[in-house]
Amino acid sequence: GPLPHDNPDNVRLAERYLHRFYGLPAGLRGRKASLDAFQDKIKEMQEFFKLEVTGNLDENTLDVMQQPRCGVPDVGE
């Protein structure tokens, strides 16, 4: 099947997750700077959950993003 990080739904879910819990700046992906920010935030989230820090939207990372949880951000103000 398609790799997880290719699936646009997964990308949208990840963007919402990282925006809400890791302070990913809102804005359109596609520009290089925001792609880097996107990957940096994935790494931050993977580090927090002690997942393998790859910056990629792999299955384990998506797994955690889909689990029911508290709405308070994990990091930052």
Binding site: F48, F49, E52, N60, Q67, P68, R69, C70, D74
Partner: protein, 367 residues
């Protein structure tokens, strides 16, 4: 554990709270009890006291709402976001909101209001999220029985407010074991469809051949009906089943699904009633036998006939020379048996009947 930036906390220890509205999922008295018990969890380990107000403005205003509910921090319908709370402070500080689109319960079915409230009130008192999967302040929901605070949570909240001067006796959950602790020992090791599952205390690590970093999870998060502690486990690839042992009971898993008809007593395998616990279990595909280790002896179970082989139990020390006489966990890979005992593992050649290497038990984690 983590705190909010600037270590936000309440400046006095007498905190007021008010339950502004109620969920229709539970009786009003059940909601009152869940919130009170959730507050007591933190009061047990700090000097904090909580006084309920029935009107007016309290420090902690507790309410149920769905989607946009007045704080421009909307909920998202069923599942996903369950609740949120604000750090100590004036106005919205300390306020705690529950997503009314969830189904709130007082048992293990989702979502237990007491557990979620205890977590959110941790925020309302100044705790941020913890990355310890066994801590109450871990961001992902998990249901657990008993006192919900782990040592990690208690250290965090006492750093803000100090201990309870009356030293109420509490039994906190032990923190999650650290994979690179040199003294780490294992409870059980098994394969599960190509992954390696390692059980330790309330947790298990899952090692996927394609991922370097093992993933640590609460056992009950994946298998709610399994006990908090596993003694032994093995996979029978022919049946595509993993067998889990704890005390005199055993469970069969088909992937992550529990097989009907379990748990069963381990004596159904043909073990005598005197055996009360299996220390380790390992299936050897080439012979179709499963070895079950108890104290200094081991048994051989023939999977095809579903019966115990005659002539057992036999002495571990006699048949597996070169390693101690007790085993915590065992695994079999490519003709080698791996016996784990305390912080050591022995790589044992099944064919040449001798120990080939002695490694640290957690060398499997590439520490």
């Amino acid at each position: 554990y983590n705190h909010f930036p600037r270590k936000l906390k309440w400046q006095n220890t007498n905190i007021t709270f008010r339950i502004v509205n109620y969920t229709p999922d539970l009786k009003k008295s059940d909601v009152d009890r869940a919130i009170r018990n959730a507050l007591n969890v933190w009061a047990d380990v700090t000097p904090l006291t909580f006084k309920k107000l029935n009107e007016g403005i309290a420090d902690i205003m507790i309410s149920f709402g769905s989607k946009e509910h007045g704080d421009y921090n909307p909920f998202d319908g069923p599942n996903g976001l369950l609740a949120h709370a604000y750090p100590p402070g004036p106005g919205i500080g300390g306020d705690t909101h529950f997503d009314e689109d969830e189904h709130w319960t007082k048992d293990s079915s989702t979502y237990n209001l007491f557990i979620v409230a205890a977590h959110e009130l941790g925020h309302a008192l100044g705790m941020s999220h913890s990355s310890d999967p066994g801590a109450l302040m871990y961001p992902v929901y998990s249901y657990g029985e008993g006192f919900p605070l782990a040592e990690d949570d208690i250290e965090g909240i006492q750093e803000l407010y100090g201990p309870n001067p009356n030293h109420r006796k509490v039994k906190p959950k032990p923190d999650a074991p650290q994979k690179c602790d040199p003294m780490l020992s294992f409870d059980a090791v098994t394969e599960l469809r190509g992954e390696t599952i390692i059980f330790k205390d309330r947790f298990y690590w899952r090692i996927h051949p394609q991922f370097v970093e093992p993933e640590q999870t609460l056992i009950k998060n994946t298998w709610p009906s399994l006990p908090n502690k596993v003694d032994a486990a093995y996979e029978n690839p022919e049946k595509d089943q993993v067998f889990i042992f704890s005390g005199i009971r055993m469970w069969a898993l088909n992937g992550y699904t529990l097989v009907d008809g379990y748990p069963k007593y381990i004596h159904k395998l043909g073990l005598p009633k005197s055996v009360r616990k299996i220390d380790a279990a390992v299936h050897i595909r080439e012979t179709g036998k499963t070895l079950l280790f108890t104290d200094e002896e081991y048994w051989s179970y023939d999977e095809a006939s579903g019966s115990m082989d005659t002539g057992y139990p036999r002495s571990i020390e006699t048949d597996f020379p070169g390693m101690g006489d007790e085993v915590d966990a065992a695994a079999f890979h490519y003709g080698y048996l791996y016996f784990f005992h305390e912080h050591v593992q022995y790589e044992y050649s099944y064919n040449s009947r001798k120990v080939i290497r002695v490694l640290r038990a957690n060398s499997i984690f590439n520490c």
